[in-house]
Symmetry: C2
Subunit: 292 residues, 2 copies
């Protein structure tokens, strides 16, 4: 790991805004990668994508309390700031915003953002308040950083849909770029939560990806029934008793509305529990019109 | 009325953003005055305040459907765009944003903003959804215009409190300046809705101001009981049968929480009906500690 000399680590919103505005005044475009830290190759692939999309890369590390439910793992969420900063430096990130929780949510904070209809379905149905908290913190971060490009990961597809909708609805001047899911050699999507898995759970975890590969293959071979695709996923999970399928759906990739027959851009998200750890994955593909 | 040659009337958000960013790149600061049109001297006083606060003045004219309730006067709200543009030109406004409703709220728009606790009290209790709609449109307009200064009128004091809170909570890089209430010679606060008043209602309308003058005078003379101030207002309205007092309160000017005894910065908003027209007014003052 070669540590670049130049990354600025800033805790003050004003200092971040000043720096990005100085870049803009000099004709440089900034891409922004928000993270909750505990970085893995998935995050770093987003940083590399940011580099390709702009002259400057800003990242943030902030474990956002507003997106954790009361029974979720905010306190226990894994953190390793020195390691994270080293990784970002080695990827040539120019600026990393690391705000204190009390600076982002001071006493008296009472503003909420809601992307109605999209935030309460799928993952949102299992995690009330989660996507409202995500929308809020990303809106705040966009106001601090004022980037030209926001880079989001496809792994959190519903999050990306919600944030894209929010950005369009609120007339924000930022373009969104989505980076693809990065996987371990056995297919498990990279996630900060993978560290929670016991060795046995870790061996079972690729079932999420396997079920989605079957879905994608079936669709490519002409299957257009959502019910039959859902059955493929359930069958795959039935063969892996250490994993418990939590939710699976076949939805329109923009409206998140359930499809009966596949058409257009299709998203198939799955969520499953391995022990006490909840993992998510998804596949997104376009179905050609087939006249049926 | 001298028509300045330079005001740009723009319907496209992109064109507005481009212009304000060009000003910023040239080192010029922009102050922004959002309006719903049908301008009166109250609006124009805000424009003059904007001029004093910045190098450039941007205004907007947009009757925002999101802030009207289903039984309110969106369709009938008074409009006179040619006259409004003439007035803004004569005040030396540099840019006026006049978006189409369908551009601000295209099909599929589903994002909401809420300033919880502040938006549901006082005027918000009488007008469910109103302040959420105000917060939403102002946030959108701020994203389009990206001003350095936002100029708001004290006449809509609760609106100003809510927007200041939203701007702080969302880390927006805009300073808020409040302009004082502008009045007719008999004390009636200027409002686009004053045109709805019949001659008789118009003669009765100064009762709002008269009641607030009594409140302010009593507080200056040492009255610290909110209940006794409220009684002064009710008594004043009792003498004017053509006006019906709708709401009156004595609240903290920042939290909008009701006060029993006056302390610190105090806001006294009143709302009253004259026939079918609802008018508002308020007084805000600071109470010195008096040891009681």
């Amino acid at each position: 790991m070669t540590a670049g000399p130049r990354m600025r680590v800033l805790r003050s919103p004003e200092a971040v805004r000043r720096q990005v505005r100085a870049w803009r005044a000099a004709g440089e475009r900034t891409a922004f990668v928000p993270t909750m830290g505990y970085l893995h190759d998935g995050h770093l692939s987003l940083v590399r994508r940011a580099r390709r999309n702009a002259d400057r890369v800003a990242a943030s590390i902030f474990v956002n309390p507003a997106q954790f439910g009361p029974r979720e793992d905010f306190g226990a969420y894994p953190r390793d700031l020195p390691r994270d900063l080293g990784l970002l430096r080695s990827e040539g990130v120019d600026l990393c915003f690391v705000p204190a929780t009390g600076r982002m949510y001071p006493p008296g904070h009472r503003t909420e953002v809601h992307v109605t209809g999209l935030e309460d379905v799928l993952e949102g149905a299992s995690r009330p308040g989660h996507f409202g908290g995500v929308a809020l913190v990303v809106l705040k971060l966009l106001h601090v950083v004022e980037p030209d490009v926001l880079v989001l990961g496809q792994k959190d597809a519903q999050q990306a849909v919600i944030l894209e909708r929010m950005i369009a609805d609120l007339d924000l001047a930022v373009r969104v770029a989505r980076g693809p899911i990065v996987r371990e050699p056995d297919g498990l999507a990279m996630s900060s939560r993978n560290v929670y898995l016991s060795p046995e759970e870790r061996r079972a975890a690729p079932v999420l990806r396997r079920s989605l590969v079957r879905v994608e293959r079936a669709a490519r071979n002409g299957e257009r029934s959502a019910a039959r695709l859902l059955k493929l996923v359930r069958d795959e999970f039935a063969r892996e008793p250490r994993a418990r399928l939590d939710t699976v759906a076949v939805v329109d990739a923009a409206s998140l509305e359930p499809l009966k027959r596949l058409r257009g851009r299709v998203l198939v998200p799955v969520a499953a529990r391995l022990g006490r750890t909840r993992l998510i994955d998804n596949v997104e593909f376009t179905v050609e019109e087939d006249g049926r």
